[in-house]
């Protein structure tokens, strides 16, 4: 039973990991842009959450909303002012640009907030639990999984059904040709980056509520995001969700066996999957 509980908890954590990967994967799927600064933006979102927490009415969980809106705006600006200038056949300029941005962000945060470990305090919610078929589960982790599933499903439906979603899919297919339909792909990219950042910001806040963070956590966050996206198979939507689940379960099961292992076994599982199926899990099913 204790193992079942561990696996269920791994799935709950995996939902959050999937969400960490979603922003990165979405940006890559639409624009073929790898935003190396995504991890540090996730941490910056958590700092913004800490800052806004005292002014958040009703419940601390609601701090997600203003942070997501701010991240959307910052994402659009980032794309308009910086990344759109270095678009082209060569991906190296984008990677160098966002890599530089990551360094500036990380050190800026150390300078501003110090290197202390922090977390976002959600009050009693963090310690509340319930019994489900004999399993002891936390309310917060279940809530977080529900938020992750909700965001995956909403994004999926929105991309399928809305006018903007259709333009984003068309732009992802061929950004040169959408111009012939009167669509400025740079604007579509700005919206897509705004969304990617908003999703990452939500993930950042939730990570900070479940655990803790320092200005240096960005590298870990980015690693998780990369692993989720690659395990899922680049650009595969629900593959990413599966990728998050695999990482979450691997990590918690391994922690049970070897409490000092940290994230190591998650990374080992990642490498094994990469060796066995280089195109990710979704790629393995597609074949």
């Amino acid at each position: 039973m204790i193992w079942v509980e561990t696996i269920v908890n791994g799935l709950l954590l995996g939902g959050l990991y999937a969400l960490v990967g979603l922003g990165l994967g979405f940006a890559f799927g639409v624009m073929r842009i790898v935003n190396v600064a995504q991890g540090d933006f996730i941490v910056a979102a958590a700092f913004l959450g800490v800052f806004l927490l005292p002014w958040t009415p009703v419940h601390p969980l609601l701090v997600i909303i203003p942070v997501a809106i701010a991240a959307f705006g910052i994402g659009m600006l980032l794309q308009w002012l910086l990344i759109n200038r270095v678009l082209g056949h060569d991906q190296i300029p984008q990677i160098l640009l966002t890599f530089g941005l990551a360094i500036v962000l990380r050190n800026g945060m150390v300078e501003l907030f110090g290197a202390n470990t922090r977390s976002i305090n959600v009050g009693d919610l963090r310690f509340m639990g319930f019994d489900f078929l004999g399993l002891k589960l936390g309310v917060l982790p279940v809530l977080i999984l529900a938020i992750a599933v909700f965001l995956f499903a909403t994004l999926h439906l929105w991309l399928r059904k809305s006018d903007m979603g259709r333009l984003i899919r068309a732009t992802a297919d061929d950004h040169r040709i959408v111009q012939l339909c009167g669509v400025n792909f740079r604007s579509i990219y700005a919206v897509a980056m705004g969304l990617a950042m908003a999703l990452s910001a939500v993930a950042g806040i939730l990570l900070a509520m479940r655990g803790s963070f320092t200005p240096y956590s960005g590298a870990d966050r980015l690693l998780i995001a990369f692993e989720v996206v690659v395990i899922g198979g680049l650009g595969s939507f629900w593959g990413m969700f599966l990728g998050g689940m695999v990482l979450g379960v691997a990590q918690l099961v391994a922690l049970k066996l070897d409490p000092a292992s940290g994230l190591m076994y998650g990374h080992i599982v990642f490498i094994l999957i990469l060796i066995m199926s280089p195109s990710g899990l979704a790629g393995a099913f597609r074949r």
């Binding site: 006018d163 259709r166 333009l167 899919r169 068309a170 992802a172 297919d173 061929d174 040169r176 040709i177 959408v178 111009q179 012939l180 339909c181 009167g182 669509v183 400025n184 792909f185």
Partner: protein
């Protein structure tokens, strides 16, 4: 006054000059053909006119405005668009979604989903299929439909008969009469001289980046076209 006027256009790929001092004019409601062998610079010329290819010198005037340095999306919203070579549909989108993307140009006019399906009944039947799953001829119809959905004043068509069966080419060219009847100007680029000259009232022949011959299609003799097409004069 011409709806589209190109003056002395040079187009480059890096150091290579693909189009050399081309001038042409298309009047409102007319159909013009640009013919020439593979590599004559026809596609490059079209890409430069619609704003997809930025490396150029000279002047492109559309509806009285200089659009030489405008972006392709702004030009499309102003009423000039292209059916690109190789169709270039949004492969993961359904046929209908492909057409709806064309409507994003936000131009009012006669072309709606219903009108496009009336012109091409077959793609109406396939409207929920992914565009990539269609045959070449059907994809070409969707590509033309997508361009029509922007309600253009002028439609540039790049090698629409390339790789299609003769019967399908005939079907597609027959539709051009209906499109032309709504007042849309059409420019067709073709390697297939007979097809293009039958559809157009005026033709330009390109050779090695230059216009080697031009005139009303009724006045152009096959010998003159052959000479201009293959460059027999200086062979």
């Amino acid at each position: 006054m011409s709806l589209l006027r190109v003056e002395n256009l040079d187009v480059f790929y890096g150091d290579f000059q693909a189009v050399r001092g081309v001038s042409l004019a298309v009047d409102e409601g007319r159909t013009v053909a640009i013919i020439g062998a593979n590599g004559a610079g026809k596609s490059t010329l079209l890409n430069a006119i619609v704003g997809l290819h930025p490396q150029k010198r000279g002047k492109v005037v559309f509806a009285g405005a200089d659009v030489t340095s405008n972006r392709a999306d702004a030009i499309a919203r102003a009423g000039m668009t292209m059916v690109p070579e190789g169709r270039r549909l949004f492969g993961t989108l359904t046929v209908e979604d492909n057409l709806r993307v064309g409507a994003a140009a936000g131009r009012k006019g006669p072309w709606t989903l219903g009108e496009v399906y009336r012109l091409f009944p077959r793609i109406g039947e396939l409207r929920h299929m992914p565009a990539a799953s269609l045959s070449g001829g059907q994809q070409q119809m969707v590509a033309i439909g997508r361009a029509l959905m922007t309600n253009p004043r002028i439609l540039l068509c790049d090698e629409i008969s390339l790789g299609l069966a003769p019967k399908i080419i005939l079907d597609i060219y027959r539709c051009f009469e209906a499109i032309s009847a709504t007042g849309v100007s059409i420019v067709v680029i073709e390697q297939n001289v007979g097809q293009a000259c039958a559809a157009a009232q005026y033709a330009y022949c390109m050779l090695e980046g230059k216009v080697s011959l031009e005139g009303p299609t009724a006045d152009l003799s096959m010998e003159a076209i052959t000479a201009a097409y293959f460059g027999l004069d200086h062979a």
